[in-house]
Symmetry: C5
Subunit: 305 residues, 5 copies
């Protein structure tokens, strides 16, 4: 542990600059150095797709419908944390408590109604996270939605409760809604770059972003003229997030293991703190997923933070 | 009772895996082993139709307009619980208190205004349930409604109060609203499967669902291509609900007793924890209803949980 | 008083079956046996028309614009209670306090904006009623309005406060809004029958209803085919209200005294607990009104409850 | 002061009939007998036009843009009170505290957005009024607006806080919104008469009204046929306000001093408690305004209340 | 410091007239005399553009994306304060705490959705400001927006908390929304003049305004005929703000240093308390920006307040 503390003080530039309360520091330490790669980088397994997308997301790998599957994978794959909602935490975590840090997702929605005025209602609280022994909370913010004022307003109390309880705050900063669609879509560089900045301005400790694509159609100036390659784009959003640590999303499943690993390497090269890979992990059979995550760990080891 | 406790620890796979607070455990035990079939299965008599559908639901059996009727049936038919709102509980339960567990429905609405943006407002609280000696609360959630954010938000406090008071939480997880209608309707497999998952993600202990039908028109992929028989469909939604216990709804009255019993058997074969039959019970004359429920008990006895 | 208590235990079937808190019992006793007919029946003088309809309602009898008029009539006519809002109670009740029970109306609105999405905002609380020495509170609920969720939600706290303070709860259960209009109108049997049931489901102690008319055009099945006479219709809604006591509304002024008295008799024959007559009382000159109410008392005396 | 107390007990019929808490009585006494005409009548100087109409209202008399001007006028003109918002009170009242009673306006809005669904949000509280040593609070209520439910709901707490702190409550009862426009406009007899009644029903101690005009076009029956002269119209709304004291508004500036004085006399003859004249006072040069108000005092002296 | 105190009592006419609580006085003193020009004038560096406009605002000077840059500039340029949100304050201020006063912006939004119904949600509180050692809070109010009632309502608590904690309150008083556009636009004299008055009416200590332009098209009377030069226009809005101190905004970057300095001089000549220049400062390379701000200080020195 002395070694880890030493690593801590040396490795993470962002971490060392942050003025954190004792509780946040302790919990972030567990995520960055107590579990997963243990070198300041992060490898998070999310399981909120059943709520956000419905059970269809589990169809390619039927056992994945049982959250036990993801808990096993999170432990056997030595993830930094598993991220899920209060229902799954209460009903499935008992056997794994202490063995895998929990990021409790506090809000969410189904994808059934239109996303034009998307909003993500709270259905759990930071106090729930404390009660469940979580090491962070997750909050989805629909940046640019016509209802973003609801997103911002309910965020205030979450952030303040995080401060009060010493709970790190992970923001799923998601451009969404009709105005975003009209300006080039949710994964455009314009949208992701703005979402990164919103996260640091509002007080996220960690932000989950998507890799910005190269679509410039309808993007507001000067993004419409900004011809950057993938690497420059990803580095740009990491830079815009400032001292808020960036996790890139794995997105939809890719059957090509090598491509998944290249993506991880690419994200880490971009300066991200880590990755949040769900479907690319738990839609593989358990042994294959565990084998793949071992390869991921080798990449993470090369990118201490 | 020793026997029952033994049954408890052996029988219910779901129950034994749950990490329940003392209060929830005690109350769930009364529902699963203290009343009704007493083998872990559940047989619930609902009486919220007067509010949800209006007095018309009682027309086929006029005495049923008097809630006394349902209380008598619940006791004489040895149901696991009766589910109704605070007005009926306060005005009719006094003579039956202690003889039949109460599931207090906390929210509801009439069916007079349009369901396009359906929402179900709270009109009672978990504290009301505690005061009235209830063994669980019921909450209707309109999954997929354009106002589902209101449903989710108000659910948060209900769930937290359930945790605080040790009150089991039964969710009527009902797909509803214009987006559901546009995607194949409220009883499609897509809709029921999603509703089952939402229930476990948000923290329901028990979920009431409807048997999914075979309509695939307008269903989102891959449900539009998913050609499963009735049994597979029902098993699928039970599976999607995970460790949340499933009750299937009896729906509209069927005059054919044998058909009703076949339906009960079918639901239990699908892995459900039990059934919630209202109109198929209390729209029969009392003696016929009691006779029918005895046959139901025979089926339940074959399906310990 | 012994006699009255004896009357109490014998007379009111509904009252004796109710499981009431001490406070509710004491206050209801004052309404049913301490004032007015004193036989369990109720004769209530409402004065919320100035808010709900505007000063025009007083034009036929100009002195009635002064609330003094109604207070004098309530006392001299030996009514069970006067029902009005907090402004009138605070400014006019001082000289009559203790001489006439008060039902404090807690919400209301003007009829100036459209009723298509009718809602009735609270402008007083149960604590106001306690402070003013009221013996009950009144709450208007617009059943079937597209905003009925607001009506239900704000009702929750009112009902809970009534429970906490032992305050009987009188619900003006009024079908209203565009969906009601589309289904046959606010005074149809469909609408009044549903409104009666909503009152008992949500927890009203007393419900004010209107006599259902015989309009079946646009009524939902099976009401569209339900050909019942006036007596059967009124009995039906009384039955649908269950153990919630029913008051029928007097409605607009009828200059024919005999017709008014026949209406009272008709309502009491229908099983109502009593009547709430405003304009048919206070739009008559005081001496005529007092004379008429004496005749009403003779009818009430024949209908102990 | 003995004399004043004697005047108090004799003069104001309304005041003597009111059952007021000690605090309200003390503060109302200061307004009615401690300042201004000191005979139970009221002469109030309002200064909320800068918010409600914008700085344009001050253009005819540029010095009036500086609130100092109105404070000087209020003191030198011996007004009963000055009515303004929390910002002006905090920044300008220090030198005048104790010399002129304050009516703190609690809500308000600009006239920039459409008035079709007018609503007047609170931006100060009764506790602010207590802190600032106010002798009353002012509340604008948009009667008949499609958002009148918001107006009523937020009024509840204001009224209750007034009761708690013994603070008199002055209501600017203003018909407003698209439904009012469709029914003859905000200054019609229909609208002002209704507004007067709403004020007393909801619990105003004092109500500010506008002189009803003679427009009957589009007015609801029976106002469309009600052919009354100006005097009868004004007396009618005073009567409809009951024991709530009426202040008539001075409205837009009239350069003819004699006409202003005739208007004051007319209002007092109608039975009003007093007048609230802003622009007709502070849009005159200070010496002219002080001279005019002296003439007003002569009229008020003839109308003790 | 004696000298400063003496300056304080002599210099600032507005300051000396204000009746300030001890806390507000102490904090305002730090802004007016403890930092920056130290003569009662104010030179504020804002950094909320990343949230309000997105990262594009930093494109002309890439290092400015790192908030370190602005903190360095604020300290080296001897600004009166830096104004930014809670996320940037928490993550970047540690090394600068005590060296540069903080104005914590409490609300904000992105510019992605339409501004037609603009509203600026709170995402931090006055208590956050206290915790972070801020010397003032900032609040954006969209004057004239169809949702201005939301702006006013949430402002109430902010203002009250400022009073409670002795925290000066800076209002970004911004005309915005479809009605403003229809009446000549957000920077018209009509709009800025009204915004200035709203700020003082609602209780701002300091207001940030934009220089009013000369557009009179569509302006409401009498602004449509008001032909004033730039100097008269700016003096007018300063006058309308009364004892609320005015800061003029620097707006978009101007590469011509001399023009920037002329603008500062112009604003100070108009009677403003100071200026808030962001992009015109931090879009210059650090050495150039520091050089420019030195010239600004020379101007400020000529305008003690």
């Amino acid at each position: 542990m002395n070694q880890s503390l030493q690593a801590l003080s040396k490795a993470s530039e962002k971490f060392s600059k942050l003025s954190l309360s004792h509780g946040k520091r302790a919990r972030l330490w567990r995520l960055l150095y107590g579990h997963g790669p243990r070198n300041g980088s992060l490898l998070v397994l999310p399981l909120d797709q059943g709520l956000e997308h419905g059970p269809t997301d589990f169809f390619p790998n039927p056992p994945a419908i049982d959250p036990e599957y993801q808990f096993r994978l999170a432990v056997e794959g030595n993830f930094s944390a598993i991220a899920l909602g209060v229902g799954l935490a209460e009903k499935y975590m008992a056997d794994y408590a202490g063995r895998i840090p929990l990021i409790l997702k506090l809000n969410g929605k189904t994808n059934i109604p239109s996303d034009a005025h998307a909003t993500s209602p709270l259905f759990a609280s930071v106090e729930d996270a404390v009660r469940l022994g979580a090491d962070a909370v997750g909050y989805t913010m629909y940046v640019g939605s016509p209802r973003q004022h609801d997103e911002f307003r309910q965020f205030e109390k979450v952030r303040q409760d995080c401060e009060r309880y010493g709970m790190p705050l992970v923001v799923w900063s998601y451009p969404r809604g009709e105005a975003i669609e009209a300006k080039g879509g949710k994964n455009s560089l314009f949208a992701q770059d703005y979402a990164a900045r919103v996260a640091v301005e509002l007080g996220a400790d960690i932000v989950k972003l998507h890799e910005p694509n190269d679509n410039r159609t309808n993007a507001p100036a000067p993004y419409d003229k900004l011809d950057e390659d993938a690497s420059a784009r990803s580095q740009r959003v990491v830079r815009s997030a400032g001292r808020t640590m960036v996790l890139f999303s794995g997105g939809e499943k890719n059957d090509d293991d090598a491509a998944v690993l290249r993506k991880v390497e690419f994200y880490m090269d971009s300066g991200a703190q880590g990755v949040m890979f769900g479907r690319n992990m738990w839609l593989r059979p358990l042994d294959q997923a565990v084998a793949l995550v071992k390869e991921v760990h080798k990449i993470m080891a090369k990118h201490p933070r």
